[in-house]
């Protein structure tokens, strides 16, 4: 079986994979990082969103072998010890989740938005997160959380 090596959340990792192993399965099953979720079959729901080389991608629509040597960040890589990332904290404070299944994807996607646009408007938030589906919340508090998270990330 081929093996693949990359940096995940700052740590050098490697593991044996099949060529067909999806990045999301490498993260979840080989590395045990189960914060990244699989929510659909059609690359639409965004629960699998992670950062690779500074950009958010859907890890369910990616092969682990494509990312030899890449720099990957998952939801587990955001907090600094016990201190939550400002975007995580914003979701917590603004009730931006109910069941929490879509939440890691929402947070990862939102952080990439803010990297590209430090002060997103509501329209810009609703436009960027088109690839993240939530069944519970109606998105209302997710938008509020991202607004708050963006403001917190500035400081």
């Amino acid at each position: 079986m081929p093996s693949v090596s990359m940096t995940v959340n700052g740590n050098s990792v490697s593991g044996q994979v099949e060529n067909r192993t999806l990045l999301v399965h490498f993260l979840r099953e080989t590395l045990g990082l189960t914060g990244t979720h699989v929510g659909c079959d059609t690359s639409q729901c965004g629960a699998c969103c992670v950062h690779v080389d500074g950009e958010s991608i859907k890890s369910c629509t990616a092969l682990a072998v494509q990312f030899e040597g890449a720099d990957v960040t998952t939801i587990e890589g955001l907090a600094d010890g016990d201190t939550l990332h400002p975007m995580q904290n914003a979701f917590r404070e603004n009730h931006g989740l109910q069941c929490g299944f879509c939440t890691p994807g929402m947070v990862m996607s939102a952080i990439d938005l803010v990297k590209n646009n430090a002060d997103p408007s509501e329209d810009e938030i609703r436009d960027w997160l088109e690839g993240n589906i939530c069944r519970c919340t109606g998105y209302h508090n997710i938008v509020k959380s991202i607004k708050a998270g963006a403001a917190a990330m500035k400081s």
Binding site: N19, R20, S43, S56, C60, L63, Q66, E68, G131
Partner: protein, 265 residues
């Protein structure tokens, strides 16, 4: 998905050679169409040749009245490119409307054009702007490239290197998104150059993207929304599905063409 042999290509020539050596290989660009297809087991290539490492295929160049976009340039890169935005803003806007943010970070123009999905956006841009598809063997005019549903003039082993778009004087793209998939239910791209007007429609045709000659002629003498208001594409050549019937698509083509013309600057 079924397993396959995986290769990283170092150049287009290397990719071509690896493709030739495979029993039934496919090239992997952004993977935004191919990987979902493989996950659903709708295809079973023996080999996957990854074009990802080929840096030469990425980037936007400006060259005497044309914007040349490397085949592996992502939609996000096209949308952000200052060169594309200043020369052909309609193209940057089109790229910005493809899929979602994560899909745009991986999906490529070469992949989209080679796939010729009947609801994809880029084929409309290529036809309407009179683009040239540059491959590892030759150059193909857009008018001769798109041959029907998921079918192009690319021969076996032929790979797209770049797409060259002549800069128009005015252009605009209006897309009515499918409420579920956000692909184009109908998308109309209008462009005007010194010599001609071109109108290309995606999402509606039974054979994929097509030009509307009647609208082009009308706009050539009067480049205004009113000129196309009375032009209707025949419904019998258009798609019907749960989201819209052929008649409604015909209606949308006219409405979007008017809006595109109005938006042309």
């Amino acid at each position: 998905m079924y397993n396959f042999i995986y290769h990283k290509a170092e150049s287009l020539a290397d990719a071509s050679m690896k493709l030739k050596g495979a029993d039934d290989g496919s090239v992997l660009a952004g993977g935004m169409t191919l990987l979902p297809t493989l996950k659903l087991r709708l295809a079973q290539p023996s080999d996957l040749i990854d074009l990802g490492p080929i840096g030469d295929l990425r980037g936007v160049t400006v060259s005497s009245g044309a914007i040349i976009i490397g085949a592996m340039t992502t939609h996000a890169s096209v949308a952000k490119s200052a060169d594309v935005r200043s020369a052909i803003p309609a193209l940057a806007n089109l790229a910005e409307g493809i899929g979602d943010a994560q899909v745009r970070n991986r999906g490529t123009i070469g992949g989209s054009v080679a796939n010729n999905d009947p609801a994809a956006d880029y084929p409309a841009a290529c036809l309407a702007l009179g683009a040239t598809i540059q491959t590892n063997r030759r150059e193909i005019a857009a008018d001769n490239f798109f041959n029907g549903l998921f079918d192009t003039s690319l021969e076996e082993g032929e790979l797209i290197k770049a797409v060259s778009f002549p800069v128009p004087s005015k252009a605009s793209y209006e897309k009515f998104p499918n409420p579920a998939s956000r692909f184009a239910l109908v998308g109309v791209f209008v462009s005007q150059t010194a010599n001609a007007v071109r109108v290309a429609v995606t999402g509606a045709g039974q054979e994929g993207v097509f030009r509307v000659a009647e609208m082009e002629i009308a706009l050539s003498s009067d480049f205004s929304p009113d000129a196309v208001a009375g032009v209707k594409v025949a419904s019998d050549s258009l798609n019907s599905d749960i989201h819209a019937g052929a008649d409604y698509r015909a209606h949308l083509i006219t409405v979007l063409a008017k809006r595109a013309v109005a938006a042309c600057k």
